[in-house]
């Protein structure tokens, strides 16, 4: 009980100091694109070229209309880019802040929030691509889009525990970072980012349905594409969130004090 209270107060502290992680994450993005002409919009442009280029080829491979395929692919890709960055940057979420950790006592949650908010900012830049694709392809939207908000909130909450888990493991075991870097490409291809679950043979659908990333993407993407949210996906995402959070916080409580020695 006592532990839960300290974690809650630590989390509250982290929210109260939100200006620190917001300023840190904005600074990192700004310094990455300093002295470039279009600045952070390189992110948008990079995503746009990937989506357009791949979209044209893959829509024809799948025998789909570009106009139908692009909105699906663009939304999936933007969400996937966020997930992939969290997985990869989660590995260095603590080691990249070694100087701060060795000098000032701060909640480790704060370093996680810096990384997550940076990727949320990047995602917002990428959302521009989605908006443009929607306009060009004439994608209609309806009231289901309201489900986007709880969907994206659940995605962000999930990325929080994932970052703690990966962050602690990758600091202790240096192989984890390379392992995850290798796995993310594979996960992207076995997750319905660019293909649809229905394209799989019936007996192989489990590849998608057992994959929690499928559902994390689905609860964010479906409402954007005017589809009602899937109850199954919501149940799975909330279940994963509950289990993941509990495990991560247990790990955090037990090992976070050691992280400074592992760096």
């Amino acid at each position: 009980m006592n532990y839960t209270n300290t974690l809650i107060s630590e989390f509250y502290d982290c929210l109260k100091n939100s200006h620190i992680w917001l300023i840190l994450s904005f600074t990192e993005i700004k310094s990455r694109y300093r002295r470039t002409v279009i600045g952070p919009f390189w992110l948008t442009l990079g995503t746009a070229t990937t989506i357009l280029g791949m979209g044209f080829v893959w829509s024809s491979l799948f025998g789909m209309n570009v106009q139908d395929f692009l909105p699906y692919f663009a939304t999936g890709m933007v969400i996937w880019i966020y997930i992939a960055s969290v997985l990869n940057e989660g590995c260095s979420v603590f080691t990249s802040q070694a100087a701060l950790i060795h000098n000032i006592k701060m909640s480790y949650f704060l370093h996680v929030m810096t990384m997550i908010s940076r990727n949320v900012i990047i995602m917002l830049h990428n959302m521009l691509v989605v908006i443009i694709v929607f306009i060009v392809c004439g994608q209609s939207i309806n009231l289901n889009i309201l489900w986007f908000l709880p969907g994206i909130l659940l995605l962000f909450l999930n990325s929080f525990w994932i970052s703690i888990l990966i962050g602690v493991f990758a600091t202790r075991f240096r192989d984890v970072a390379s392992m995850i870097a290798n796995l993310t490409t594979l996960i992207m291809f076995i997750t319905p980012v660019m293909w649809k679950v229905e394209m799989l043979q019936e007996k192989r659908r489990f590849i998608a349905t057992l994959n929690p990333f499928t559902h994390m993407i689905s609860i964010v993407r479906d409402p954007l594409l005017s589809q009602p949210p899937s109850l199954e996906s919501y149940c799975i995402v909330i279940g994963v969130l509950f289990l993941g959070f509990n495990f991560s916080l247990w790990l955090y409580r037990k090992y976070i004090h050691r992280v400074v020695f592992w760096m």
Binding site: N17, H19, I20, I23, L24, T27, S31, R34, A99, L100, I101, H102, N103, I104, K105, M106, R172, F173, R174, D175, V176, M179, H257, R258, V260, F261, W262
Partner: protein
């Protein structure tokens, strides 16, 4: 009320080599049921042993001892960066650390932006930061150079920016790890005056140094650390003469 209380504190430091960082190694260990324990992979250093002392508001404690005697480790423990392996530590009050003066500075940003960013990272609110920005800028005496990226600065100029931020504010507990004499002669005087002002404003000071001169000037108590243990602690003069007699 500001205080520091340490009761029988121990700190063991695991030092990992490349092998024990690897997952494969841990997996092999798990698979062999822990028979293959290779203790030499993790070297445990007892960095601090049996540390018991307390400080009240107004105390100025100097730490003296050889390199590796545990001065920095003790400071980091007091800062809350390290958690003790055993024993109890209680501190009350806002802590400020002067370990790495150039903490969090980014070369691509201007001096001004760095003043702002470092002040935020050191825990000041946006309002506090904006209020003290001008004063910090004046202290650096860098003038228009503050609008130029830090990468064009000389190391002395960088230190001025870092120092201006690090010595801002009114901490309850101030922890300093050997930093004196930065920049040219004129600036050394100015910066030591600023540091003394900061110390006077702070509730408790813990300060590690090799310079007996500085310890005499700044501290009313001195602690001798040896191999991570307190060898002696007491009034400055008494302890320093004991230190001279034994070293």
């Amino acid at each position: 009320m500001t205080f520091i209380n340490l009761n029988n504190v121990h700190l063991d430091f695991p030092i990992y080599n490349a092998q024990s960082f690897s997952l494969r190694h841990s997996l092999v260990k798990a698979a062999t049921g822990g028979i293959m324990k290779r203790k030499k992979d993790v070297i445990t250093v007892s960095a601090l042993k049996n540390i018991t002392f307390s400080l009240q508001c107004g105390d100025r404690l100097g730490l003296i001892g050889h390199n590796g005697s545990g001065k920095t480790t003790l400071l980091k423990l007091l800062a809350g960066i390290y958690t003790p392996t055993a024993g109890k530590i209680q501190t009350k009050g806002k802590i400020s650390t002067l370990f790495d003066i150039l903490l969090g500075s980014q070369d691509d940003m201007t001096g001004f932006e760095n003043l702002y960013l470092s002040s935020i990272t050191r825990g000041k609110s946006i309002v506090e930061t904006k209020r003290s920005l001008k004063e910090m800028a004046n202290f650096t005496e860098l003038g228009d150079y503050l609008h130029v990226p830090m990468r064009t600065y000389s190391s002395g100029m960088k230190l001025r920016v870092g120092f201006a931020v690090a010595t801002e504010g009114t901490p309850d507990i101030l922890l300093i790890d050997e930093i004196f004499g930065t920049g040219d002669q004129n600036f050394v005087e100015k910066s030591s005056q600023r540091l003394k002002d900061l110390i006077n404003r702070s509730g408790i000071l813990v300060f590690s140094s090799h310079s007996k001169e500085l310890l005499r000037q700044l501290c009313n108590k001195v602690m001798i650390l040896e191999h991570g243990e307190i060898k002696a602690m007491g009034e400055t003069e008494e302890i320093l003469s004991f230190y001279d007699a034994n070293h």
